[in-house]
Structures are given as C-alpha cells and as structure tokens.
C-alpha cells in the first residue's frame, strides 16, 4: 500500500524545550492510525506539525508524495488534509446547516462568490443534507450549533471536515470531555467513516477503549520521542509501552 502521510525525522523545539524529537511514521491509504502517549508526550504538538499549525524545527512531512512542511494550514486543507480540534471549533450562533454549508461552499470554490446558479445551489444543498445525514444530525439541521449537546457539536465538526472532501482526516481527541454515551456515538461515527467510507484517519486520543477498538495501527509517543509503532495487539504486548504508559495506569 502507498503511504498517504509520512513524517520523516520530525522535531520541534520551543526554545530549549524539545517537544517532539526525531519522530518518523508512515500511514497507509485507508488506514486508521491512532497516536497515543502519556500527558506531555508531544502528541498534540506532533499533530499540530502534521496539520500545519506550526512548522517543524527539522524533518519533513510528506502527504501523498508531496512535501507539505512549508505549506500553511489553509494550503494543507486545500490539498486534502482536514482536521478537527480538541476543543470543539464550530460557528456557535449559526445553524447546523449553515456550518456545513460554509464548509461545502468554500470547498466548491465559492468563498468569494456573490451568488450561485440554481444548479450550483442544488448541488450544495444536496452535499449539505447528505453530510448532515451521514453524521446522524438529520433532524437537527436548523438548530443553532451552540445549543446542541457536546457529542452532536463534535458530529457537526466532523461533517464540516468531511465537506472539505479530505483524503486524510485528522481528529484531535474527538471524544475529549465526553460522557459514556457521547463517546460511544462519536466512536461509532469514526468507525463507520473508516470501515464503510474508507477514509484515511489519524486520531490523537486518550481514551484507550476507543483507541484499541478503532485503530488499525497505533503509534506511541513518550517524552517527545517515538516509543513504539504496531497493531493494537503488538502495542498491548509491548513491554516498553506498558512501563511508560499502561503500567502507570494499572
């Protein structure tokens, strides 16, 4: 299988602090990769390097055969990398429909359009209602997103990311701050996107049940460095991981 995303010896320094140290990984097309690690392991920093939130100090990020280390976040979105945030980032006063519609219109190249033809508008309408249905919010399209429950807001965010027609979906702690039921709802949605719609997904997550339940492969970071990389079974059996991480939790 070809690699959808590769990190080659990526490091990030903040002054004298080394947040990420020489990390390499390769995510295949169609794979669901989870990145885990104890608090302060550098997961979120590493994730931000991939998405272009900031540039690596050294090393390079390659997306679909193309070096993207120098591209801005907007440019990465345009070539097919869409992300969601740890803290839900939506347009709270706008409706579910409007939130997804903005994403769909921008993706279709209408960010500066003063109007749409009836045909274009029908196309957008169709995309929007399809996405809203796919993330399970069909009955809530006209509700302001700020009024929705946390799990539903997260689903809106995922719908917006999907509207960007990504080839790689980057989810930053999608179940952060959620209760049992909401975690279940979002995990189910992610599994469906991966299994039924074949999205390539990279996921940073702290909820181990979610990770071991969903991921094809798991990358473990510890103190900014790569600790292990393998299938859930391999990771569960890995002694270094148990010591650094699972051991502490048990």
């Amino acid at each position: 299988m070809t690699a959808m995303l590769e990190a080659r010896g990526v490091s990030k320094h903040f002054g004298s602090l080394v947040a990420v140290r020489n990390v390499s990984l390769s995510v295949a097309k169609g794979e669901l990769r989870a990145i885990i690690g104890p608090n302060g392991a550098g997961k979120t920093t590493f994730f931000n390097l991939i998405t272009g939130f900031f540039a690596p100090t050294s090393g390079e990020i390659v997306f679909d055969g193309r070096t993207v280390s120098g591209l801005s976040a907007e440019q990465r979105v345009k070539i097919g990398m869409a992300r969601t945030f740890q803290i839900t980032e939506v347009f709270p006063e706008l409706s579910v429909d409007e939130n997804v519609r903005i994403a769909a219109e921008v993706t279709a190249g209408h960010a500066l359009s003063p109007w749409l033809s009836a045909l274009q508008e029908r196309g957008i309408d169709h995309t929007v209602s399809d996405l809203i249905a796919r993330v399970g919010l069909a009955g809530k399209a006209d509700r302001p997103v700020g009024e929705l429950a946390h799990g539903d807001q997260r689903a809106v965010e995922i719908a917006m990311a999907l509207a960007l027609r990504p080839r790689l979906l980057l989810l930053d702690e999608p179940t952060a701050g959620m209760g049992e039921q909401e975690t279940h709802q979002i995990a189910g949605l992610i599994r469906r996107l991966h299994r039924e719609e074949s999205y390539t997904i990279i996921l940073v997550e702290h909820d181990m049940r979610v990770v071991f339940h969903l991921a094809d492969r798991i990358t473990v970071l510890d103190q900014g460095a790569l600790l292990a990389d393998g299938t859930p079974e391999e990771i569960a059996a890995n002694r270094a991981v148990q010591e650094a991480y699972l051991g502490k939790a048990a």
């Binding site: 907007e74 345009k78 939506v90 347009f91 903005i102 921008v106 209408h110 960010a111 009024e147 960007l164």
Partner: protein
C-alpha cells in the same frame, strides 16, 4: 399588541416568512413616512436624515455585526463621501449623479487602501488603527483650507435637479422628491448589501465572525475576507456620505470626526447589530432623540447616552434583537 406578544408571535413563524414580513413592514413604513411623520411631529427632511444615517449605520454593521470587526473610524469613509460629492458640485460640475459617484469612489477606494493595512490586525489594534487613519484624514480636511475650506467647511454648492430624459427630478427645492430620491438610492444599496450577506461570500464573513480559527481550517483566507468586508462596508458608507452632502448642501470636518464614528457604532448596537434592519432603527431613535432633546438642551447627548446604556443593559441584542429568535449564548 405589547412588545412581548409581538415578539412571541414573530417567533412562532418560520424564519423565511418572518423575514419577508419584516422586510415588507420596513418598506411600507419608509415609503409612507412623509405622510405619517407630520402626524407625530416629524417633517420630511428629518426622515431623509434618518435614511442617510441609517444607511451609514447599516454599512458599518456589515463589518461590525456580520464580520465581527469593530471599527471606530468609519466616519473617515463617510466623510470622504461627503467631501467627494461636495467638491464635484462646487468645483467641477453641477451634476448630482456625478457627485454621488465621486463621493462613493473616494470613500470606497480609501477603504480598500487603508483596509488592506487594517485587516492585518485584530481586536483592540484593529479598532485603534481605524481611529488613527480617520484622524489623519480628519486633520487633512481640517487644515487644507484651499481645497476643503478647513474648519469652516465647504460651502457654496447646492444639489442639482436630476434630468432623466424629459423627466426632471427637482430634488433641489422639493423635499418630498429628494426624500424619495434618497430612499431609492438607499433601496439599491441595502438591496445589494442583503444579497451579498446571503451569498456564499456573505456566509464566509459570518464564519470569520463566529470563529476565525475554524474559518482558517476550512480554507478561508481570513485576512483577505476581513479586508473585502472592510472595503465593501467603506463603499456603502461612502454612498451615505455623498447623500449627506446633498442633504446639507455643506461639508465640514465634523463629518470625519471620531465622535460621528462612535455615533454610528451606537446606532448599530442600540438597534441590534445581529439584525439586518436594527442599525436603521438605531439611527431613527438616535436622530429623533437628537432632534427633540437638542431643541430643549445643549446636553442632548446625555439623554441619548442614557437610553443607550439602558438598551445595552436590558436588551443586549439591541432593540430589534428583542424580536429575534433566542439563540444559544
């Protein structure tokens, strides 16, 4: 019907119907204004003033309410509209349409140029830089006696009748004709504004207002969209400025002063900056109170200020915001 029941009735309707009803209501009130205003102690020129300043406040609100950027310097582009129109009528040619076009272009282009620099900043810096550019323009108008007439202002021009083939619109000496002329320009401007706001581009502005980080990660170039919004807003407020020159047959530096910028903000916020028509209502309240209290006391601004404080305390979404469907905080 009390306000509360009216609000409840409005909330019961679907939003598209509600919007249509509100729009129809606004236009009926505006078109009939010269006939009902005398009954409540008004006069036609007062109505014209409301329309002109209402257009200014709505233009500012394009940026403030719909893009979420606070400008305290919009009188700059309003004032350039005033001077642009005035200078054409005084020094170039006695043509009202040309004066309107010139004022609009002068203010609008200045908005495009300054907006380019302003749009790179956010928050307090954004507001401060809008004021800074405005003060520069204010002092140019104030000091450049040879062109602007300096402190005394630009006098000696009069708006001219408009010739449409055989038809002559005598806006010069007929208040009523002038009112409808201004209302027609207003209709074109706010019609265009409404279309822009409901377009895909308009929705990207809402996105910027709601969450810049999210907007960026959808692939929206936030700085560019803030700049465009600023420019559009400047063009619209320059139209209002040009109309203001025609209304007063006079231009002076106070039309570029920061106090006026602040008044535009007050109109927009008091009327309801999350509503399309709110700033027009705010302008109406402001102008009527100013007209009433300034005939009684020099300290009229005290009473307007008092009302403003009350509105902000009890109706933080503005006077028209009362009718809006409640949304999550």
């Amino acid at each position: 019907m009390s306000l509360a029941t009216a609000a409840a009735a409005a909330e019961a309707l679907p939003s598209a119907q509600r919007r249509l009803l509100a729009t129809a209501g606004v236009w009926i009130i505006l078109i009939a204004a010269p006939f009902w205003m005398p009954l409540v102690g008004g006069y036609t020129d007062l109505g014209t003033r409301v329309i002109v300043l209402g257009l200014a406040a709505m233009s500012l609100n394009f940026l403030l309410g719909y893009t979420g950027m606070m400008s305290f310097g919009h009188a700059a582009y309003f004032g350039l509209g005033v001077y642009g129109a005035g200078l054409i009528l005084k020094d170039v040619t006695a043509s009202t349409p040309l004066a309107l076009v010139a004022g609009t272009l002068l203010g609008g282009i200045a908005g495009v140029v300054f907006g380019r620099l302003i749009a790179r900043t956010r928050g307090v810096a954004f507001a401060m830089i809008t004021i800074a550019f405005q003060q520069i323009l204010y002092y140019v108008a104030y000091k450049w006696n040879g062109v602007t007439g300096g402190f005394d202002g630009l006098r000696g021009f009069v708006r001219q009748p408009i010739h449409l083939g055989p038809l002559v619109l005598n806006i010069r000496s007929n208040d009523l004709v002038f009112y409808y002329f201004v209302l027609a320009i207003f209709a074109l401007a706010v019609g265009a504004m409404g279309l822009i706001l409901r377009s895909p581009f308009g929705r990207t502005l809402l996105a910027v207002r709601e969450n810049q980080r999210r907007a960026r990660f959808l692939g929206i170039d936030v700085n560019r969209h803030v700049w465009l919004s600023f420019s559009v807003s400047a063009f619209f407020i320059a139209i209002a400025g040009a109309l203001y020159a025609l209304l007063n047959n006079f231009a002076d530096p106070s039309s570029m002063y920061y106090v006026l910028s602040g008044q535009f903000v007050i109109m927009a916020v008091m009327g309801g900056m999350r509503t399309f028509w709110g700033p027009l209502l705010g302008a109406a309240v402001f102008v009527v109170l100013q007209n009433y209290f300034s005939s009684i006391t020099l300290n009229w601004l005290f009473f307007v200020g008092l009302l403003f404080v009350l509105v902000v305390m009890f109706f933080p979404r503005g006077l028209l915001g009362i009718f809006q469907r409640r949304r999550a905080a």
